[in-house]
């Protein structure tokens, strides 16, 4: 800026579209920037240097757009201030030097509280959805699925599992030894003779070494050969079977499938957006699942114990079996499926043993020696 020269800048008052080429003058004593133009009210305007802010992330290096600090407002649309575009390089450097808060970012009061409150509200709403509303909806709706649909669906689930476990075609993993099936049937009969079950049970043994069993919708229960080999007595197998029948009767799998469909859609939206990965969704869904199933598992355990009791079967079979699982878990074996959601096998063994001590009726083995041998060989043709 020449000593006696005039510096002009483009001024917009934020009220009308008319541009005024105002004359600028810095008053270092009063620490103000004076804007002069005949069309301004009273002919001039004074901007305190401390209150001047420059717009950030601007593309043009040959100009600086100035504004006055706005009345603190979170809603950026309400900030109503004038704009002053300075193009004179000398004036830009003078103002850069003299304005102390040129680059200051003004944050409205209460911003932090607002962010915390809104974030908390969002998390709370989502948690309510995941932990209360979706499970409640799933529970209600599960009762309205016609049983024949559930049975058909269960069949596809079992077939899918078979394919997953390496069965080349439908039924290729299913064990079909006649005497073994008769023994399995006898076990089921004995367990359920005093029960009023809602589903017709379809029980199968898969020729697979995994120590596992699962229930599918519509009364399907599958036991793996590995579980039968691991058991030392038929009572142990009966305990697992009772547990799975418990899942069948309370429609756990169906309810879980509905709930999972809802929460997976919800989680993939949130996590997919934030972390940008499907892995996070799977982990979150898995954790969520474990927390839901713990309750269902405990209920199925109680169901199984009562079933064992009613059929006069010694519940210590269940205790023995859980002890084995606990030993496997302690050794750190990977326990997929049926066992993964049962973290506290020691506790469950203890509960079963406790129950066995109070059994009301006299107990007898659920299968004869011959039947038990047949069941153990169910996969031999």
């Amino acid at each position: 800026m020449a000593p006696d020269g005039q510096t002009f800048a483009r001024f917009f008052d934020g009220e009308q579209g008319l541009r005024l080429d105002v004359e600028l003058h810095v008053d270092t004593a009063a620490e103000t920037l004076r804007l002069t133009h005949p069309d301004l009210p009273m002919g001039s305007q004074y901007w305190p240097l401390w209150a001047i802010r420059a717009l950030t992330d601007q593309a043009r290096a040959d100009q600086m757009v100035l504004t006055l600090v706005a009345d603190a407002s979170l809603d950026s649309s309400l900030i109503k201030t004038a704009r002053l575009t300075v193009t004179d390089p000398d004036m830009i450097s003078i103002l850069t030097r003299l304005c102390p808060n040129l680059k200051k970012r003004d944050v409205a009061r209460g911003t932090f509280r607002k962010v915390i409150a809104w974030t908390g509200g969002a998390v709370g709403a989502l948690a309510l959805m995941i932990f209360v509303i979706l499970p409640a909806m799933a529970n209600t709706l599960a009762a309205y699925i016609p049983i024949e649909r559930e049975v058909a669906w269960g069949k596809t689930v079992v077939r899918g599992m078979e394919r997953f476990l390496g069965g080349s075609e439908a039924g290729s993993l299913v064990c079909r030894n006649k005497e073994g099936l008769a023994a399995l049937n006898a076990m089921t009969e004995r367990l359920t003779e005093r029960q009023d079950l809602e589903y017709d049970l379809t029980i199968a043994v898969f020729d697979h070494r995994m120590v596992n069993a699962f229930a599918a919708p519509g009364g399907h229960v599958v036991i793996m050969r590995g579980l039968i080999s691991k058991a030392d007595s038929p009572d142990e197998v009966a305990a697992v079977l009772g547990h799975e029948i418990g899942h069948v009767e309370s429609r756990d799998v169906t309810r879980n499938a509905l709930r999972t469909a809802g929460s997976a859609g919800l989680l993939s939206l949130i996590l997919g957006d934030f972390a940008g990965g499907g892995a996070a969704v799977i982990i979150a869904e898995w954790t969520l699942n474990a927390s839901y199933t713990r309750e269902a598992e405990a209920a199925a355990d109680v169901f199984a114990l009562e079933m064992l009791d009613a059929s006069g079967t010694d519940a210590s079979g269940m205790a023995d079996f859980f002890d084995k699982i606990a030993a496997l878990q302690d050794r750190g074996s990977a326990m997929p499926g049926f066992l993964a959601s049962h973290p506290d096998s020691h506790g469950r063994a203890r509960a079963a043993r406790e129950f066995a001590r109070t059994q009301r009726y006299g107990t007898r083995p659920i299968l004869s020696k011959r039947e038990w041998t047949a069941l153990q060989n169910i996969c031999d043709d």
Binding site: R10, F12, G14, E15, Q16, G17, L18, R19, L55, T56, D57, Q58, A59, R60, Q63, V65, L74, D75, S76, S77, L78, K80, R83, T85, V115, W118, G121, A122, A125, L126, M129, I130, I133, L134, M137, A138, L141, Y144, I145, R149, A152, W153, K155, T156, T254, A257, L258, R259, A261, G262, S263, A264, G265, L266, L269, I270, D273, F274, A275, G276
Partner: protein
């Protein structure tokens, strides 16, 4: 003041790339939360690059309001999607047969894909809200732009015209293009001046000519190919195959041509405050050239960068192998390579912004003219529009695009 204002774009590649790259790193480090601020800063840069009569545009949105808006949108969407998915699964189980028959398979596929139709209206809603938000946060000469609330009306119309376009195999596409743009333009404001979309939708058919040529070529080539294959006439089949390829490219370019043509036509028929008019002379060839050249340059650059990273990686492992030490050194090497790789991916995003998106914006801005611009002086400020959701729905549903 000149009665005519020519748009000018001042943005440069290097500063925008730097801004993109740095904000992208912040975004990664904050697990994605910074992206609202990142997008805001990039918008500020691009808006401030656009000038008319030497006065720059200004983007007044903030990262904070975008973040809070996202929270609002994500809660609404998550609840909606959770319920919809659950209900659709229920319907899938209780109505659709569950066996291996083809009908059951088709039924299940429909049930699963229904959730897309459940989201589609929300995506259109988000589109309108996002445009409205960006308008409300744009200023020129200190005067705000704005757009009236009408998102659900837009959703209904967009679904209707989309359906019409679909069942007429694209023949009625210009009707949808015109009416939807008119719906939005007629609700747009600059200060107290209202935009008005004039013109006729039938006029857009001139812009469809290359799409139709491409389609006809495609059908003819398909018939030739089919005849050649059926009668074992190799030459005919090859001719048909080449024809299909040419038709495909023709169709793609034809679609770009249509978009450019529609933009220029619709811009030329807009009137602001009853007096101010516009014209646009955007060149399809320039746009396509920028896309192709940008694409080639980015591919070559990224190829070189990834090759260098791979070379460094090979050297690190070769060194570790030679000394027989696979200890801390090689772990550090792996980490460094992983970081370099991630940075290179971020750089690719920045390059596409700087070498394709920005040049296209530049070409468009430089070829838009405002006529009868003196009347702009009489425009008064409009009252502000406030948003609880900002353009959070667009962020959550990822319909926002590059900027």
């Amino acid at each position: 003041m000149s009665a005519q204002i020519q748009g000018r774009y001042f943005g440069k590649g290097a500063p925008l790339f730097k801004l993109y790259f740095i904000t992208a790193i912040f975004t990664v480090l904050t697990l994605g939360i910074y992206r609202f601020w990142a997008k805001t800063r990039i918008r500020k840069y691009i808006w401030s690059s656009v000038t008319g009569d030497d006065d720059s545009f200004e983007y007044t949105g903030t990262g904070l309001e975008k973040f809070l808006g996202f929270l609002v949108a994500i809660v609404i969407l998550a609840i909606y999607l959770g319920v919809v998915q659950l209900l659709l699964t229920f319907i899938g189980f209780s109505i659709v047969p569950q066996d291996d028959s083809p009908e059951a398979f088709a039924g299940q596929a429909i049930a699963i894909n229904l959730s897309i139709f459940a989201v589609l209206p929300l995506m259109l809603f988000a589109q309108y809200r996002a445009r409205r938000y960006k308008m409300a946060r744009s200023r020129w000469r200190g005067i705000r732009f704005g757009m009236e609330n009408g998102a659900w009306g837009y959703v209904a119309r967009a679904l209707g015209y989309g359906f019409l376009t679909m069942i007429t195999l694209g023949i009625l596409a210009p009707l949808g293009t015109y009416r939807l743009e008119k719906y939005m333009a007629d609700r747009s404001w600059y200060g107290d001046g209202r935009f008005d979309q004039g013109g006729r939708w039938q006029d857009l058919y001139k812009g469809m000519k290359h799409v139709f040529i491409g389609l006809v070529l495609m059908i003819v080539s398909g018939v030739l190919f089919g005849m050649g294959a059926a009668n074992e006439q190799v030459a005919l089949a090859i001719l048909g195959g080449i024809g299909i390829f040419v038709a495909y490219i023709w169709l793609l370019i034809g679609l770009v041509y249509y978009r450019v043509y529609a933009f220029c036509y619709l811009t030329g028929k807009k009137v602001l405050d009853g007096q101010i008019t516009f014209s646009a002379q955007v060149e399809t060839s320039t746009i396509i050239a920028k896309i192709i050249v940008g694409g080639i340059v980015i591919s070559v650059l990224m190829g070189v960068i990834f090759a260098v990273i791979a070379g460094v990686g090979a050297a690190v492992f070769a060194g570790a192998g030679a000394t027989g030490q696979l200890g801390a050194g090689s772990i550090v090497g792996v980490v460094i390579i992983a970081i370099l790789y991630a940075l290179a991916l971020l750089a690719a995003g920045g390059l596409s912004l700087v070498m394709i998106t920005q040049p296209i914006i530049e070409h468009v801005v430089n070829n838009v003219t405002v006529h009868n611009a003196d009347h702009l002086d009489t425009i008064q400020q409009r009252s502000a529009d406030s948003f609880a959701d900002a353009d959070g729905f667009a962020d959550a549903l990822d319909v926002g695009g590059a900027i």
